[in-house]
């Protein structure tokens, strides 16, 4: 469970929510199978696909070596239709 860092809220992630796809950043070492297992267990949903990628590094030259690899991965979890994960935050009033 420690693998999931936080939910990502971007233009794309909101667009994907319509397609029942949830986006979150996960620890670098976590695998798709681990994350799928935890999500299915905790939220009681059926995951049909897992996509993951590392964000491209920013082109900033800090040291003689340019760029670095991101220390986390972004995973897009696709749920089977009919399943959903409730919002993790409550709307402020």
């Amino acid at each position: 469970m420690d693998g999931i860092k936080y939910v990502v809220v971007t233009e794309k992630s909101i667009r994907l929510l319509v397609k029942n796809q949830y986006t979150s950043n996960v620890e670098s070492g976590s695998t798709k199978a681990e994350i799928k297992h935890w999500v299915e267990l905790l939220f009681g949903v059926k995951v049909i696909a897992m996509n993951s990628h590392r964000l491209p590094e920013k082109g900033r030259r800090m040291r003689p070596i340019m760029g670095h690899t991101m220390h986390y991965r972004r995973m897009i979890i696709t749920l089977q239709s009919g399943y959903s994960i409730p919002p993790l935050r409550t709307k402020r009033t």
Partner: protein
């Protein structure tokens, strides 16, 4: 659960300094001078420097412009910009109530539809300006934007936007009457926020000063005024001429030290004077500071300038001698506190001079008045000068008397903003005068131009300021009633003169303002001329 804990980080992103939220624009627009709320009414600083002084009658005239133009001129945030032409989705309800002091209260009720429209505009503006990672500007969902910006900020901006959009519409009922800078929203901003958040509609009260109406006690009374002008006998040309010749003759003489006699009439003495009150109880004896003087140059021929009988008491005093004598201040003495006070005067004669005057004949004519060859010419030239001065003083006294009379003939409900504006201008003029005479340092200037000093001045000079306003308004009213006019040539000439004056002193000027001021002056002069023609004026010498 870790997911939840982490997720709260996202919720608090509006506190994250990485994001640019256009808060500046909000706070800036809240400082709009038009939107001065009762709870936090800022006193305007003194208009200083006053080389751009203006007359309040001009202020009123300038207000004949639609008030919206002034509102537009105020700094407006881009989020809340609006103009009078900006159509509202629904009509606002404005109730006008007359209040004392030429004041009008406008109660404005804004329907929910207008509030909704303003809310959308504010959101759109925030959306354009907010920089949130993961979103392009203008593509941020409302809920996320609200989280980032903060609902409170949006609400404040919305209320402000509502005010900005609806105020010009509300003010349209008093267009042409409202005085510049006199619009005050008296409903507290916090109250407006509360009512907007609970009802989504808004109602607020605005107070605005309107141009006061000039009410004549007797209609057309100014057309046949009876004026008695009191003239000081000093300004009579012949007397003044004689005195002037005497003074010039004296200035040609030389002073010589008196050694063999005491003080005589015609001498000049340098005296040290001190005075104490007379009381049987010695502990109650006090000094009279007003009567004390060291190195006082006493011209015995000008004994009317000192205490009556003072000269008689010291006649015969020799140089280096001291004389002490009791003296009772006359009941008519100008200083009220000293009237009837018994005092013991001690006078020490430091130096004693007599005047060695040249003989008053044609030979000194040129020295008395350059260009003259004999005494008659001197007298004529001086008389002519004095007659001019007498005429000028007479005219001045007549003008003052007419204006005083006018002041008594009108009843005007003077609005507070007009009073303050006029008072500030007067105070500024005085400050300038003081500064021209005495070089004030920055600290003194700051003290003198502090709001406290200005308010004290306004309180002390209330009567004068009110009279001045009444006079000006009455003059303006007569100008309109009688359809008086002045020629354009006159105006152009005067404006050119004023501009030349500004240029000579290397001061900045606004030609339009100068023109307006000149127009006012010419108007005033024309009215006074007209009043003089139609009034029954009697001159009395006092």
């Amino acid at each position: 659960m870790e997911v939840c804990v982490n997720s709260t980080k996202i919720l608090n992103l509006n506190q994250n300094t990485r994001f640019f939220v256009p808060r500046n624009s909000i706070s800036h627009s809240l400082k709009n001078p038009i939107l001065q709320f009762n709870s936090n009414v800022q006193k305007r600083p003194l208009n200083y420097p006053l080389n751009q002084r203006s007359c309040f009658s001009r202020q009123i005239r300038s207000l004949q412009r639609p008030i919206s133009s002034r509102i537009k001129a105020a700094p407006a945030s881009s989020a809340t910009s609006g103009s009078e032409t900006d159509k509202l989705p629904a009509d606002i309800m404005v109730t006008e109530t007359q209040e004392p002091n030429s004041r009008v209260r406008l109660s404005v009720e804004v329907p929910a539809a207008v509030g909704e429209d303003c809310y959308k505009r504010v959101l759109k503006e925030f959306m354009k300006q907010a920089k949130i990672p993961g979103f392009r500007p203008g593509k941020i969902p409302e809920s996320i934007l609200l989280n980032y910006v903060g609902e409170e900020s949006v609400q404040k901006a919305t209320v402000e936007s509502i005010l900005k959009r609806t105020l010009p519409h509300a003010m349209s009922t008093v267009t042409g009457r409202a005085l510049r800078d006199s619009v005050r929203i008296i409903t507290k901003f916090s109250d407006m926020e509360k009512s907007y958040s609970s009802l989504s509609s808004l109602s607020y009260d605005v107070i605005v000063d309107v141009a006061p109406e000039v009410k004549w006690i007797s209609e057309n009374g100014y057309k046949s005024m009876k004026i008695v002008v009191e003239i000081d006998h000093d300004i009579e040309a012949e007397k003044a001429c004689e005195q002037e010749i005497k003074r010039r003759h004296k200035s040609l003489g030389t002073l010589k030290i008196v050694t063999d006699r005491g003080l005589q009439v015609g001498d000049l003495a340098v005296l040290d004077i001190s005075a104490t009150t007379i009381d049987q109880d010695e502990s109650k004896v006090q000094k009279v500071p007003a009567a004390e003087s060291k190195g006082f140059q006493f011209d015995t021929e000008d004994d009317d300038k000192v205490l009556p009988g003072f000269l008689d008491s010291i006649i015969g005093i020799r140089q280096g001698k001291t004389k002490s004598f009791p003296y009772v201040f006359p009941e008519t003495w100008q200083q009220e506190t000293l009237r009837g006070v018994e005092a013991q005067f001690t006078v020490e004669c430091k130096e004693l001079f007599y005047r060695d005057l040249p003989e008053l004949n044609d030979s000194i004519a040129d020295k008395l008045f350059p260009g003259c060859t004999d005494l008659n010419q001197v007298k004529e030239s001086l008389l002519q000068k004095c007659q001019e001065m007498e005429q000028a003083a007479k005219d001045q006294a007549t003008d003052t008397a007419i204006l005083d009379q006018l002041c008594k003939m009108v009843e005007i409900d003077i609005p507070q903003s007009l009073f303050e504006e006029q008072g500030r201008q007067l105070y500024g003029a005085r400050l300038l005068e003081i500064q021209a005479n005495v070089k004030l340092n920055e600290q003194q200037l700051a003290t003198l131009s502090s709001p406290k000093a200005v308010n004290e001045f306004l309180e002390n000079q209330r009567e004068n300021i009110i009279n001045l306003i009444k006079q000006n308004l009455a003059v303006g009213d007569i100008f309109k009633r009688e359809n008086l006019q002045f020629s354009t040539e006159e105006l152009v000439k005067e404006v050119q003169n004023s501009v030349a004056e500004f240029k000579r002193h290397k001061q900045e000027y606004d030609e339009e303002r100068v023109r307006e001021q000149v127009q006012d002056v010419l108007e005033g002069a024309r009215v006074l001329e007209w009043l003089k023609e139609h009034a029954d004026i009697q001159y009395v010498t006092r």
